[in-house]
């Protein structure tokens, strides 16, 4: 069956004229695929009849949105969905991905019962093999996280692996992760089942209908132009898979969806002499870069090679589609790896080498959410070859997003708005996916920086800092210094520096932190997003007072730290706002807020011409002076006294000049450069939460001890005020807490990263969100949220007493370390040097 489909598609693709209007597939119950005329209007139009589109349609219809039209240019489930290897694996690195996969698993399992369409669902379980200790650590981290969200899994010995799978060579293994509830199934059938269920719920499905472009008026979706006519609609969902990028750009108001396809190969064999049982577990051998599942008595095996072949760089390309052929030479390393893992397969006969392009994104996470440029334009694409695993969950979150305005989980990590404009260039994407695809099976270690597509945006001081030994990290396309390597010191090569333990820059950052505490350091923070809001009258103040929770009606020259909240009181942004004059404000937000915050402001600001919002990120270089002598340096530079009460705002035009002056004046105060790692250590030991890591749209100021930054009674309503009032009355259900690891050996033990489970009196209560080594406390500090689950699993109010009266442990890759919980920072430790600049530090959102 499978092969026949393959051949059909191959032939179709070879004939361009027929590609867009291929005949309906006979074997599908064509009930859902109508040839009738399109409706003139609908609430939602979904483009793409793969697993993503059908899942969104399914969930929308379940949530009560029935006026939905799904369009597919060819046949349903005929794209990447058709070629998918059919492995559902919950062993993912991100908790949100684990949750999506877990939901998908549960959904697919009951789908056959619900729709009557066979999906081939078999619960085989999956085994991820570790050939090295580092890989085993990585698997143990996944294991800890899986367990706390209720997915059974365990770390097993090689011997146990051999028992579970008869053909495996286990001699080079050090261990494995077994997830018994993982499954294999046919993704095409899943998509058909979802479509059929959706169609029963009222969703109209049209195949052989291609979307040409989306009609946009005033930044709002108004309809869809197809090759069969127009449909008016309020919402459009782009689930076009590898064509999503092209489709996004086809609008008048382009929507950039940064993804790029790569060729992906897997092998199909004929059945084994004694056909493999259908319950044989799926094997993932990341060190060998391959996956292996049983398939019709034989095996299906593919992998993610080191030298990927990007494809469709210039969009849909007939030549490339025709050339999608088996490339055995390219597959050779994976085949070697397969035969090393299962030597007995040598005699197995080859059926086919399948070449199915998969889409990848610049950071290996899928893309979902609403476009920042066009309201009502939603995207769900870029699955990094995990479409089947994520399909159910991602479709559900997107449907929730559309129906309720926000998903039930924090999906910032997957939000389309995490990307900036520069990250959607074709060249960038092509280079980056060539790095991302091998990374699928590379060891994922803390603080990994992508190597390709760098230097998209740099500070004017980049060359200056680079010459002084700066090592760079990238955030939102912006280069930021991590730390400065002294001239006499060498760091390890990139590959060797991968570690879960103490990193090689430990001493470097220590000296930078020390300098911040004792003298003065300068950090280039130009990457921060900077907006200016001005108005002719008081409109700017009015709208900002409505959007932000703190009171912004402060004297000119003052800086206010405030949250930008949503209706639920959760943080949409956490920023500093300076009042430049009566009618203009300067807003400083985290780097990756550039797109998100802009979209939020644009959405909520009245289209009033008297109100001007300008992105001035490019216009300013930001230098941050940290340390007890910072005031001295600045006073000397500006010939003006600087005290905590009097801090004149200075804007200088020549960044390089200022930097040089600061460095030369600062010399006698012991000034030096510092990087973001030092800043991160400082902010975490000061218990300072950072948006995007600790804070997200589901956390409120009350939950992280920031009542003082919320002025509930500032005299006017603001977004989220109602929710906060209610929360104040009812109490919070989670509390941001700081943990100091007690019995942790910095040199010998695994370092915490983020996402480690927190145990209170042996009970799971939450996960860490960030961690760093505190050079002051000489301990590791983890930040995280503590919840209070009742015996039945319900969330209960978390009180300070609850936090204080527990014994805590942090689980790092299966090893639990004792930790002390704190609700407030160690002020006493810092008071002896506490000055204005220390207060400023906490306002600068160092990450």
């Amino acid at each position: 069956m499978f092969c026949r489909w393959l051949s059909i598609i191959r032939r179709r693709r070879a004939s361009p004229a027929r590609r867009r209007c291929s005949s309906a597939r006979g074997s599908t119950s064509a009930a859902e695929a109508r040839a009738a005329a399109l409706p003139a209007q609908a609430q939602v139009v979904i483009c793409g009849g793969g697993i993503m589109g059908t899942s969104v349609a399914y969930h929308l219809s379940k949530m009560g949105w029935k006026d939905v039209v799904l369009l597919e240019q060819g046949r349903l489930a005929a794209g990447s969905t058709r070629f998918c290897a059919g492995i559902l694996s919950t062993a993912r690195h991100l908790t949100i991905e684990q949750k999506m996969a877990d939901y998908s698993n549960k959904l697919y399992q009951q789908l056959e019962q619900e729709t009557g369409i066979q999906t081939g669902y078999v619960r085989t379980g999956s085994i991820s093999l570790a050939q090295t200790q580092d890989r085993l650590i990585s698997l143990k981290r996944i294991n800890s996280r899986l367990n706390v969200i209720g997915i059974p899994s365990e770390i097993i010995s090689p011997k146990k692996v051999a028992e579970l799978h008869p053909l495996l060579n286990v001699h080079d293994l050090v261990g494995a992760l077994h997830v018994p509830e993982d499954a294999v199934l046919s993704s095409a059938d899943v998509a058909l089942a979802l479509a059929s269920a959706a169609s029963q719920n009222g969703v109209q499905i049209y195949d052989r209908t291609a979307v040409l472009h989306v009609m946009v008026k005033k930044g709002q979706v108004t309809g869809v132009e197809t090759d069969k006519g127009q449909i008016e609609c309020q919402y459009f969902v782009n689930c076009a898979g590898q064509w999503a990028y092209e489709l996004g750009l086809s609008n008048e108001e382009p929507v950039s969806i940064p993804l790029h396809a790569c060729e992906h190969f897997y092998l199909l064999t004929r059945p084994w002499e004694t056909p493999l049982q259908s319950s044989t577990p799926t094997i993932v051998d990341p060190d060998g870069r391959i996956y292996i599942r049983n398939w019709q008595g034989g095996i299906l095996s593919g992998g993610f090679e080191k030298n990927p072949k990007p494809i469709f760089t210039e969009g849909k390309n007939q030549l490339e589609i025709q050339n999608l052929q088996e490339d055995w030479d390219h597959f050779e390393p994976l085949l070697s790896s397969l035969l090393r893992r299962m030597p007995e397969l040598e005699t197995l006969e080859i059926l086919k080498l399948v070449n199915c392009p998969e889409t990848f994104t610049p950071d290996m996470r899928c893309i979902m959410g609403e476009s920042p440029a066009v309201q009502g334009y939603f995207v769900l694409a870029g699955m990094n070859s995990a479409g089947l695993s994520f399909g159910g969950g991602a479709g559900r979150y997107l449907a929730e997003w559309m129906v309720h305005g926000y998903p039930s989980e924090n999906v910032w990590e997957l939000d389309l708005k995490r990307f900036g404009a520069l990250q959607s260039s074709r060249t960038f994407l092509r280079h980056r996916v060539m790095e991302v695809m091998p990374l699928m099976y590379d060891l994922k270690v803390p603080r990994w920086d992508f190597q390709t597509g760098r230097q998209l945006r740099t500070s004017p001081l980049y060359d200056r800092l680079d010459a002084q030994g700066a090592r760079w990290m990238e955030k939102h396309g912006f280069e930021r210094p991590k730390y400065f390597v002294p001239p006499d010191k060498d760091l390890l090569a990139l590959e060797q520096s991968k570690t879960f333990y103490k990193p090689d820059w430990f001493d470097i950052v220590e000296s930078e932190v020390k300098c911040c505490k004792e003298a003065v350091c300068v950090i280039d923070m130009s990457s921060f997003t900077k907006f200016e809001i001005t108005s002719t009258g008081d409109q700017a103040l009015e709208i900002l007072q409505y959007l932000f929770s703190n009171d912004l009606d402060v004297p000119v020259g003052h800086i206010v730290h405030t949250g930008m909240l949503n209706e639920g009181g959760g943080y949409e942004n956490d920023c500093s706002i300076a009042r430049l004059n009566k009618r203009s404000f300067f807003m400083i937000s985290p780097t990756d807020q550039q797109v998100h915050c802009w979209a939020w402001l644009k959405k909520h600001m009245p289209s009033d011409s008297s109100l001007l919002l300008e992105d001035v990120t490019w216009k300013y270089t930001a230098l941050n002076l940290i340390g007890p002598r910072a005031v001295d340096v600045l006073s000397e530079l500006s010939y003006a006294p600087m005290t905590p009460d009097h801090f004149p705002s200075l804007f200088c035009k020549y960044a390089l000049h200022v930097y040089n002056e600061v460095m030369s004046v600062g010399q006698k105060y012991g000034i030096r450069n510092a990087g973001y790692y030092a800043l991160r250590s400082l902010r975490i030991e000061k218990f300072f939460a950072f948006w995007g890591q600790d804070l997200n749209t589901l956390t409120t100021p009350l939950e992280c001890g920031r009542e003082s930054r919320v002025k509930l009674e500032k005299g006017m309503d603001f977004i989220g005020r109602h929710a906060l009032l209610q929360q104040k009355q009812n109490g919070v259900y989670k509390r941001f807490t700081m943990f100091i690891l007690d019995d942790h050996d910095t040199d010998l033990d695994l370092w915490p990263w983020w996402g480690e489970p927190i145990y209170r009196n042996g009970q799971y209560v939450g996960k860490t969100t960030s961690s760093a080594y505190s050079y002051t406390l000489e301990r590791h500090v983890c930040l995280g949220f503590v919840q209070n689950f009742s015996d039945t699993g319900e969330e209960q109010v978390v009180t300070a007493d609850f936090i204080n009266r527990g014994e805590y442990e942090i689980d790092i890759a299966g090893h639990r370390f004792q930790a002390k919980a704190k609700l407030y920072p160690f002020t006493s430790l810092f008071t002896h040097k506490r000055r204005k600049d220390d207060v400023e530090l906490s306002d600068l959102h160092g990450k």
Binding site: E326, D327, D329, L339
Partner: protein
């Protein structure tokens, strides 16, 4: 290197270093030879000190290090550690080792090896160890070796000179007080037949020694072979503008493999900045490298000046006159080992200036079109004339005086290509060759020769020579396929021995420096020397209009052409450049193939592929084939290793210096030109 030169025409423009790449000074140089000897002398020391015990340490990047290390090692084996002076022993050892491989080829190559028979045969055998060769290296010293000079001091100088360093090069390039020994009398050509006889004696000699030393197989490892082959490789890609290459040239790869020490071949490549087009050339020196060096430095300036329009010449002259900055004329594309001599730059500049001044004066203001063919011929002739004049006039500076004489008394052939859009001109003097690689419609490769060799194999050249001299000289002017029985190329730069009258030669030699006077070769007058000049530098210019199927041009010295057929050359380069080595993809189709079978097949294919991908440079790839090809036309690593590990005093017997430039054309641009018209 390769930067656009700027003539800062101050009061004395020539003193500005930028006129030529200042990578050469007359400071006493370390006792290693030629552009290849860039390996640190410390290695030599180590090799010599630890002869036989730790040879692996000596296999440095430079082939010399490898040779020396090995030489020392074997000397150590044969004679014990005391044989530091055992050069003779080393040679003998070597001969014996190489013999089995090369005995068949020896006779044929041996005569061929010496383009200039004046230098008698045995010069490469039984070389005495010299300890006073220090100043001799001053003319051929690449910059890197100078950096090592301080290191040399730390070693025992005497030992280095006594063992590792000697100059066996008896040409004017490296004259030596030891030359006037009895070995160096003129040996008329027929003597070559008998010359081989002494080698039979070697055979006996070495044969006897075979049992004294442990027979062992020695091979260079593939990385060592690569480091030797790639030491001189250079690639240039024409920069793209706005993502597009608008030049008809995509770029070029060049490389050279020495057989002489120092190498006598030279190469040059430069972009004309005041006119369009690119110049590329290979120069094969004989009787030393002085002439080929001078030609490689100077010829492109002469050509560029000849191509310049009147106004530009005036502008340049005015700039020089008023001490203003000059327009850059050429942008050189040079390998770090391609050096320019600093000392002579002023002299060369003055000669060049005189040339353009004459061009300015000669201009009648009528014709504005400059004929490239004519310009090339004029430039060649003018440069040769200047070389000759400079030697006659001499120079008050004794070093320069000696230099110009060495340039004039040695010789060089030249093969230069000028590419401007679709117009390809090849100017050739001597026996280097320009070959065009043409891809036929069926994908196969054919070779189009764009130059004629000027040697005895060329009937028209024989005819020309006979016509230019009286009938009674018809038999003596070409003997043994050589000009006057001596010189293989029939056209060349320098070689004033074949150009000046006997009187002039004697006068110049007598008034010349002592070194010249002591040199037997320079004093020697060719036999039957009645009606000079017998030799000219006038090139034969071929014009070719590029077509889209013309994919590349190979310029190479005869070292390549005598080892490989032109058809093979074009095929190897063509397949290399178009990636023909990418084999046909495998498809399973309907066959029954098991995973194991497929795996075996793929592993085999990958092994094959990796050998091709070793080279990133077409010229290197070609040299690999030229030196390492076995009778089946495939590169044989064993053979390659043996050939490359020949000690330098033997290398010349088995191959000549090889210099190759492969220019790749841009078919799109060439095609666009064609469509325009």
């Amino acid at each position: 290197m390769g930067g656009a030169i700027e003539w800062k025409g101050l009061s004395d423009p020539v003193t500005s270093q930028s006129w030529r790449g200042a990578r050469f000074s007359s400071a006493p140089a370390p006792p290693s030879r030629g552009p290849l000897s860039a390996s640190p002398p410390t290695r030599h020391c180590a090799a010599n000190q630890e002869a036989g015990s730790a040879p692996a340490r000596t296999y440095g990047r430079g082939r010399e290090a490898a040779w020396r290390g090995r030489g020392a090692e074997w000397a150590g084996r044969g004679r014990g550690a005391a044989s530091r002076t055992g050069l003779r022993g080393r040679n003998a050892e070597w001969r014996h080792r190489c013999r089995s491989l090369l005995v068949r080829k020896k006779r044929a190559v041996f005569c061929r090896a010496r383009r200039m028979c004046v230098c008698p045969g045995p010069r490469r055998s039984g070389i005495p160890i010299r300890s006073s060769s220090l100043p001799l290296f001053s003319d051929a010293m690449p910059a890197p070796t100078q950096l090592f000079f301080p290191l040399v001091r730390n070693c025992e100088l005497s030992r280095i000179y006594g063992t590792a360093c000697y100059c066996h090069h008896k040409h004017l390039c490296c004259p030596s007080p030891y030359l006037p020994q009895s070995r160096l009398r003129y040996m008329p050509h027929p003597a070559y037949a008998t010359f081989c006889r002494p080698k039979e004696n070697w055979w006996q000699y070495t044969h006897g020694r075979r049992y004294a030393s442990t027979p062992q197989k020695f091979y260079l490892t593939p990385p060592q072979v690569n480091s030797i082959l790639k030491a001189n490789e250079y690639s240039f890609k024409v920069p793209e503008f706005d993502g597009k290459n608008v030049s008809s040239i995509l770029g070029f790869d060049s490389n050279q493999l020495p057989a002489n020490a120092p190498i006598e071949d030279r190469r040059s490549a430069a972009t004309c900045l005041q006119t369009r087009g690119m110049l590329l050339g290979v120069f094969d020196g004989h009787a030393g490298c002085a002439c080929s060096q001078a030609v490689s430095e100077r010829l492109f300036y002469y050509i560029a000046v000849s191509l310049l329009p009147h106004e530009t010449l005036l502008e340049i002259e005015n700039a020089v006159e008023s001490g203003r900055a000059l327009l850059p004329i050429l942008q050189w594309h040079k390998h770090p080992n391609d050096y320019f001599s600093k000392e002579a730059s002023k002299l060369y500049f003055n000669s060049l200036r005189t040339y353009w001044q004459e061009l300015i004066d000669l201009n009648t203001g009528e014709s504005t079109d400059i004929d490239v063919k004519e310009a090339l011929i004029n430039a060649f002739k003018r440069l040769d004339n200047d070389i000759s004049l400079e030697a006659q006039v001499g120079d008050p500076n004794s070093f320069l005086n000696y230099l110009v004489l060495r340039v004039a008394f040695s010789g060089a052939t030249a093969c230069v290509a000028h590419v401007d859009g679709v117009d390809l001109h090849v100017a050739n003097t001597g026996d280097s060759r320009a070959m065009l690689g043409v891809q036929e419609e069926d994908g196969s490769w054919s070779a189009v020769t764009l130059s004629n060799d000027h040697n005895a194999q060329n009937e028209r050249e024989l005819e020309r020579l006979k016509l230019e001299h009286p009938k009674n000289e018809a038999k003596s002017v070409v003997k043994q396929d050589r000009l006057l029985g001596l010189l293989m190329p029939f056209r060349a730069f320098g070689d004033v021995k074949f150009k000046w009258s006997i009187d002039l030669q004697k006068r110049v030699i007598e008034s010349g420096p002592d070194q010249l006077n002591d040199n037997e070769y320079t004093k020697f007058i060719p036999p039957n020397y009645h009606t000079p000049p017998y030799l000219t530098a006038e090139p034969e210019v071929t014009y070719h209009r590029l077509r889209p199927q013309d994919k590349f041009l190979v310029l190479a010295t005869d070292g390549l052409w005598e080892t490989m057929h032109r058809q093979d050359v074009v095929r190897i380069v063509g397949e290399y450049l178009t990636g023909m080595h990418h084999q046909q993809p495998i498809a399973v189709g309907g066959y029954k193939v098991t995973l194991g079978q497929m795996h075996g097949l793929l592993t085999e294919r990958r092994a094959k592929m990796s050998s091709v991908f070793e080279d990133q440079n077409a010229a290197t790839h070609l040299i690999r084939h030229a030196v390492g090809n076995n009778e089946f036309g495939a590169v044989d690593h064993e053979r390659l290793s043996k050939m490359l590990s020949l000690p330098e005093e033997l290398a010349r017997m088995y191959r000549d210096d090889i210099t190759i430039i492969v220019v790749q054309f841009n078919s799109h641009v060439v095609g666009a030109y064609q469509n325009q018209e």
